[in-house]
């Protein structure tokens, strides 16, 4: 599914990712760890196709329509409600039975009661849960999660534990997750990559 060799990324003279080799088979669960500034977010941006490598080769065996991406930013409009945000992405991704899928995700991430509130009124943790709903909405084959536990409270983290365990069970779905807390995901991970 993902094959990267000698991946490097530079912004001007600054090298933010150096000589990374990566192999994640279809259905794999890769855990990416590393200190702040080690290039975890850059690696996910390369995998998502949002940035191009400065050197090395990268093959991601899925179309961009099949990628789900959770970034540091929630990638939702704060002026719109949760429902309106998910409706927007549901239309763009041509999600079948959109309303049912949105309703199910909002229920699963405990946001149903706040579905018609503007995201600007959400706490950081609620916004993160909405961002997870957005990333999962189109049932992606490749899920890229950048620090998914950030801003989640204990209850939110338990919800995400349950969700990731379910996702990791899907034989065809590939996950690449960056984290500062590898112990939490260690039981699920099948590949590990430590960035220096």
């Amino acid at each position: 599914m993902i094959e990267g060799r000698g991946l490097e990324k530079r912004y001007g003279r600054k090298r933010v990712l150096a000589s990374v080799d990566l192999h994640v088979p279809a259905g794999g669960f890769a855990l990416v760890t590393g200190a702040n500034g080690s290039g975890k977010t850059t690696l996910l941006r390369l995998l998502a196709g949002l940035a191009a490598p400065s050197a090395g080769s990268l093959e991601v065996g899925v179309d961009r329509s099949r990628i789900g991406y959770l970034a540091h930013d929630p990638l939702v409009y704060r002026e719109l409600t949760a429902m309106e945000n998910l409706e927007l992405y549901g239309r763009l991704y041509r999600v079948p039975e959109r309303k049912e899928r949105i309703g199910m995700l909002l229920e699963r991430f405990d946001l149903w009661a706040a579905r018609n509130e503007s995201v600007s009124a959400y706490s950081r943790g609620m916004t993160q849960r909405l961002a997870l709903c957005r990333a999962l909405l189109h049932e992606p084959d490749l899920l890229l999660l950048d620090e998914p536990y950030s801003a989640l409270d204990a209850a939110g983290a338990v919800l995400l534990d349950r969700e990731l365990a379910m996702l990791a069970d899907g034989a065809e779905r590939t996950l690449v997750v960056t984290t500062h807390d590898p112990e939490r995901l260690e039981p699920l991970a099948r590949q590990r990559l430590a960035l220096a």
Binding site: L50, A71, D73, E84, L92, Y93, S118
Partner: protein, 214 residues
């Protein structure tokens, strides 16, 4: 058909965001009205209508710039542009949705500004009004592309006018010409040609503005 549906979805989203935030349209309305009021008092008595038509275009271009400066702010403040770029729609649909929403704001501003101009300064005939509409399309087409480029920069407030104003010169020439020349229809053709060429160029190049290729 899918492309049209995506553009409609994105335009509707922009209009809804503005309806909630009220960041752009009220500012454009206040700006264009206050500019015309200032011009009304600044223009000496007995000045010909030609000067007034020129001032109308100053107000139109800077009102459009105000709208364009805000156009991509929601996308850049929350990183939403990444999510739109990842979505499986043609990337030019993102530009077209933004251009149409900005055009809607500009048309609303002018629905107030043009009657105010007639009240304060001089009459506008049908050719002049069509000139304004054609120039609006050109400004929004090229301006939405330039605003997307400028939004990625830290100095976007400075960069946007530097990018847009030189490209708006043919629109000002065409618009003023349509208002004052006895052969106004020739200037309308110039505006039509500009709209066609720059809309196609902007449509084709937007993908390279929002994606990294090297």
């Amino acid at each position: 058909m899918r492309y049209v549906a995506d553009v409609a979805t994105l335009t509707r989203k922009d209009l809804r965001v503005e309806l909630r935030a009220r960041d752009t349209l009220p500012a454009m309305l206040l700006f264009v009205l206050s500019t015309l009021v200032v011009f009304h008092f600044a223009l000496p008595q007995g000045t010909g209508d030609e000067a007034a038509y020129g001032l109308l275009w100053v107000a139109i271009v800077f009102t459009a710039l105000l709208g364009l400066a805000r156009a991509w702010v929601p996308e850049h403040e929350h990183g939403v542009l990444d999510a739109l770029v990842l979505a499986p729609c043609d990337r030019s649909a993102i530009w077209l949705g933004k251009a149409l929403a900005t055009l809607a704001f500009l048309l609303v501003a002018q629905a107030v500004a043009l009657p105010a101009f007639v009240l304060f300064f001089a009459p506008l005939d049908a050719t002049a009004v069509v000139g304004v509409l054609l120039a609006d399309i050109g400004i929004c087409a090229v301006g939405s592309l330039m605003a997307a480029m400028a939004a990625a920069s830290r100095s976007r407030e400075v960069l946007l006018p530097l990018l847009v104003l030189p490209l708006a010169i043919p629109l000002v020439v065409g618009g003023v010409g349509a208002a004052i020349s006895p052969e106004g229809s020739r200037y309308l053709l110039l505006l039509l040609l500009y709209d066609g060429v720059f809309a196609v160029l902007s449509w084709a190049s937007f993908e390279y503005v929002v994606t990294e290729t090297t």
